[in-house]
Amino acid sequence: MPEEKKPAQDAGEAAPRPDGDHRALAEASPDDVSGYAVLEDGVPVTEVRADGIFSAARWARDHGYRILSLLSAYDDGKTEFGVLYAFVKPANTPGDFAEMRLKVRMPRKDEAGNDLEPECQSIVDVFSAADWQEREMYDLYGIVFHGHPALRRIFMPEGWSGFPHRKDYREPEQFIAMRDGEDIVLKTQEDGSW
């Protein structure tokens, strides 16, 4: 567990204030930062706008958080997509270890009620490790990372349509695996009968 911890926010208490590197980030680029929260494991996370994540990530790397520890997207099924980033300082002793988390939230619908496709900036130019992680999130959630040199599917075969981990994904009726001269048709199972 990292050294600096904050207790989880209780209803009725004042919202937690950023401190340490989170406050420095909020002061350095106030246009990008859109919020602050503390997760249930006690680690703070700064919410960043989708078009500000590149400079926030660069700020983190320049302040010693050199290892990309986590790049995880989620779809909460109701209102938004999100990407959680965790950057970590490489440490030789326990005192050197520190973690910084950033989160980007992409709403599913804009104010007018139209559907939005999730989009975000790519941080590949800052952390090369984000290359495959962003491809995976594109493949599974359809989040387009602008600035990625080669954003294409990584798990699914090239012709796959749809983004499987989305909550509203429906499995296609059949999948035709192309081979030279012969197609293999794999049908989705119907009503559980063998």
Binding site: F155, M156, P157, Y169, A177, R179, L186, Q189, D191, S193
Partner: protein, 191 residues
């Protein structure tokens, strides 16, 4: 009632009477015996060929997932599959008789499995090792898993387990050897 239930309902099991000791006997499994049409010489030749084939089954190094580890362990000294004739695990499908499918078959991998199976020369056998190769296993609800390798290639022996112990794999190989011995080798050669 689904079609599966209807099929089962038709074949009624006899009523169970606890006082009747015959239910303690092992159930009799009918074994189909093919008529040996060729006579004595070719029958013995067939048995000789089958003896050779069953005692030198060469598997294919084809590891998909966790069951592959148990397959590799079965080559290790503790379990030693080579005492059953599978001394050599070849990497090229053209040099193998047996394809053990250990692990989950995904839709991306399925055409490659079919290609590899087609590249194997006859007579070839397939063992579906583990729950995933049998029917999808723990990943039955997945959108990317083929629910059993028998949807793509014909399977001779199924080994349940997740993963099956190396001893279970050896048992499966022995059952396959029994199946090979029961084959009619001469007919298969096309004479």
């Amino acid at each position: 009632m689904s079609p599966g239930e209807a099929a089962h309902a038709e074949a009624e099991a006899p009523a169970y009477d606890p006082a009747d000791p015959s239910h303690l006997e092992a159930p009799r499994i009918p074994i189909v015996v093919e008529e040996q049409r060729e006579g004595l010489v070719l029958t013995v030749l067939s048995k000789l060929v089958n003896w050779g084939r069953s005692n030198s089954v060469w598997p294919f190094t084809f590891g998909l997932a966790c069951c592959a580890i148990e397959m590799i362990t079965s080559q290790a000294p503790a379990f030693d599959i080579s005492r059953f004739g599978s001394e050599v695990f070849r990497a090229s499908p053209r040099q193998c008789d047996l394809m053990i499918v250990p692990g989950t078959v995904t839709k991306k991998m399925a055409p490659r499995i079919k290609t590899l199976y087609d590249q194997m020369p006859d007579p070839k056998y397939v063992i579906a090792m583990g729950a995933c190769a049998t029917n999808g296993g723990p990943y039955q609800d997945s959108y990317f898993v083929v629910k059993g390798v028998d949807k793509i290639i014909p399977v001779d022996v199924y080994i349940p387990g997740c993963p099956p112990r190396p001893e279970a794999l050896l048992d499966g190989v022995q059952k396959l050897q029994q199946k090979i011995r029961d084959q009619n080798a001469i007919l298969e050669l096309g004479f």
